[in-house]
Subunit: 439 residues, 2 copies
């Protein structure tokens, strides 16, 4: 580059006039060309907003080591020196993203015969709905399964995990999984436990409204997910959905910490017991949470799930011991969603003791869905610990169930299953306040 | 009253000087005497703050139809005409409140032998913990049951309902039910369905920390609950707990609309699908929600619960049809907490059809816990409706389960049970957006 960086290039860059054309080379070697946009208080210090010649906006951190040069006002063809018309660049120059489809609203359309929604089945149909998907780099569409998400099974989770690994092996910088929102949180948790050594982001995304309706959130969600998968310095499984009811702000949630908390709102997904990892706002990524960075790879699927061996049981007043015991018959493990700090009625203690004596792993979470369980406040908790129930800190009930299936797939030894369940694997569990410090 | 109401009495009242003494007669006939306090932006339009002669503050809505007269500056004894000293009145002059105890943290203390918490068992022990309880009127303590709330049963709910009716019959202006927080929401819902024609408030209250700990919320919660039970113009079952982490603001939630959403925070209770009915802030009651007014009475318990005949089943991916069917064996009714708009995997349709054909009532709610179910968006919903599943609008899963027990107690006819379940009884269900308009 022609101009040496000053000791702090941000002090130069922040004074550039709006509309100045610049070329910026980040310390990681990436090069960006575009027009300077007004500084925005939301993007924070050191972030320059640039409108690329493609019309796309990016937020760039101007750290020490960033190099740049000023350009003439209009983009010019490097070969002829002639001005180039503005507008979308010819596609596929940026890093590649794999888009795995599984069915669900984001890849669905209204079936006018029935008035209901049916899945979109072909890559061509998806690209027809989302024509701008490749404006910043190639997107390869990989159909994995094709069903509404209430019909997705634990076996599908394993299949999707293997397709994620294959996509990275085929050169994807990041992977997007388009998924129905109903069980998107369960799938995100499963991928979090199954996938290790991820070299880039795995971004699950859905739509609360189908893409051929004017109010659909599908196109925005998918575009944001593809952009985040292409660029974000993340080596973990995240869920990206609207952060609020504005059309321009998306939250990134850790896959094991997120839950669908509303049946229709487009900001239905909320992190529990952990703030969102970050936000994607009008082309700018703010990763303020405790993210897990990319790993050198290669990524792999670690183990599998024993889908038939685990269950999830929500306690409620009036649930009889006989009915609860029958609901758990034949299982190697069960997760309770108990009340408050992790309680069930004392009438359940006898069958729980019997089950544990027979090698069943019994884990406890809270149906409050936020806060942690704690067996040492009330007699009920101490009785449950005495019976051998494992208190699972701040794990969500659904995440604990998915983790149980994974742990049961790793071992047939109840003690090893208990150890795996109670150990943080991917930022899913925070045991900081465990009195026994047993981690 | 001496002064005719102007066309809008609020236009007069809002201009009264601070400290002006007034007597106000609300359209419901209640009469209040006290000094005008400064208008407060938090109380909203049309709310006048009045400091009563007792030193107690109240917020009054000045609606059209309100009548008033101005009074001399000092309160005077009506018999002698002499000025009366200001300040807290000598005890037990206000309306009586009954405090029903059921066990739980609010009536518990640390047992130093075990380090755990044990219930407080006698009225004397409770009064020793809460010496100011009677400062504004008599409080009669009625022990009903004595257990941690995870052990409370549907039979206990019926017992508590009958004690509430008895307390009103014995002259209480309002009733407080002190209850462990773990299942407080379930009990509140049950009382909402069981109790009709309430002449005053039934206020459920708990504590997230036991009363002999410095951080306990018990004393504040109980004092606020007693005050609200004594004064509030409510004829319904509410839950009163901290609205936030300040010590001075309490939210009133409708009993059928509230859920414990955190295992430890003292503002753990949150209304779902309905804003709180109001707030109690430093002695002022702001009832801004759609409250149900007191009824002339007498109150009664309408029906009972068939506790063994209903169940609650949370759907999750991997739940097999056999296990789900077994969990519902022998029941007359079951509530599903389905995903999203009210879905379960299609593998469950056959056993659901069989169960419904055998007379089982199957209701659908959403495990999102907010928003409503809707069977007419996806094929899954239409299939479930076709099988005879009843979609329960915006009912909470736990509230729907409690309502099911009540409906099963009312009738053995499945059609009648379905009608009762789907009909709003106490502000528990809002069917405004039901396409079929079947209410």
């Amino acid at each position: 580059m022609g101009t040496d960086p000053s000791p702090d290039p941000w002090e130069v860059a922040r004074r550039w006039p709006v509309e100045q054309r610049v070329e910026i080379q980040s310390p990681d070697g990436s090069v960006w060309t575009g027009r300077v946009m007004p500084l925005h208080h939301l993007t924070g210090d050191r972030v320059l907003l640039l409108k690329l010649d493609s019309g796309y906006n990016v937020g760039l951190r101007i750290d020490p080591g960033t190099r740049f040069r000023l350009l003439p006002a209009e983009p010019r063809d490097e070969r002829t020196g002639e001005p180039v018309a503005r507008g979308p660049t010819p596609p596929p120059s940026g890093p590649a993203v794999a888009l795995l489809t599984t069915g669900g609203t984001i890849a669905s359309r209204v079936d006018y015969a029935t008035g209901g929604v049916r899945p979109v089945r072909t890559a061509a149909e998806i690209m027809a709905f989302y024509p701008k998907l490749e404006q910043d780099g190639p997107v390869r569409i990989v159909p994995v399964v094709d069903r509404l998400s209430e019909n997705i099974t634990p076996d599908d989770w394993v299949r999707i995990a293997h397709e994620v690994v294959r996509a990275f092996g085929d050169g994807a910088r990041g992977v997007v999984v388009a998924h129905g929102t109903d069980t998107l949180g369960y799938t995100a948790a499963a991928l979090g436990f199954l996938l290790v050594d991820l070299p880039g982001p795995v971004v699950l995304v859905g739509a609360q409204r189908s893409p051929d309706r004017p109010s659909s959130d599908g196109p925005e969600n998918l575009a944001a997910a593809v952009s985040v998968a292409r660029r974000a310095p993340l080596g973990e499984v995240v869920v990206l959905m609207h952060a609020d009811l504005s059309a321009h702000r998306f939250a990134l949630h850790r896959g094991t910490r997120v839950r669908k908390m509303h049946s229709t709102r487009r900001d239905a997904f909320q992190s529990r017991n952990l703030p969102p990892l970050g936000y994607w706002t009008e082309g700018t990524l703010d990763l303020s949470g405790p993210v897990r960075p990319p790993r050198p790879g290669p990524p792999r699927v670690d183990g599998t799930l024993d889908a038939g061996a685990g269950g999830l049981l929500w306690f409620y007043p009036g649930l009889s011991a006989e009915r609860a015991a029958a609901a758990c018959a034949g299982l190697r493990g069960v997760i309770f969603a108990g009340t408050g700090l992790g309680h069930v009625a004392e009438i359940h203690l006898p069958w729980i003791r019997t089950a544990i004596a027979q090698g069943v792993v019994v884990g406890m979470t809270t149906q409050c869905l936020e806060g942690r369980v704690d067996p040492y406040v009330y007699a009920t908790g101490r009785d449950l610990v005495g019976a051998g129930v494992l208190f699972l800190e701040d794990l969500l009930p659904e995440t604990a169930y998915v983790k149980l299936l994974w742990a049961l797939g790793q071992s047939r030894d109840p003690d090893e299953v208990r150890r795996l369940l109670a150990t943080d694997r991917c930022g899913d569990l925070d045991g900081r306040r465990r009195p026994e410090g047993a981690r």
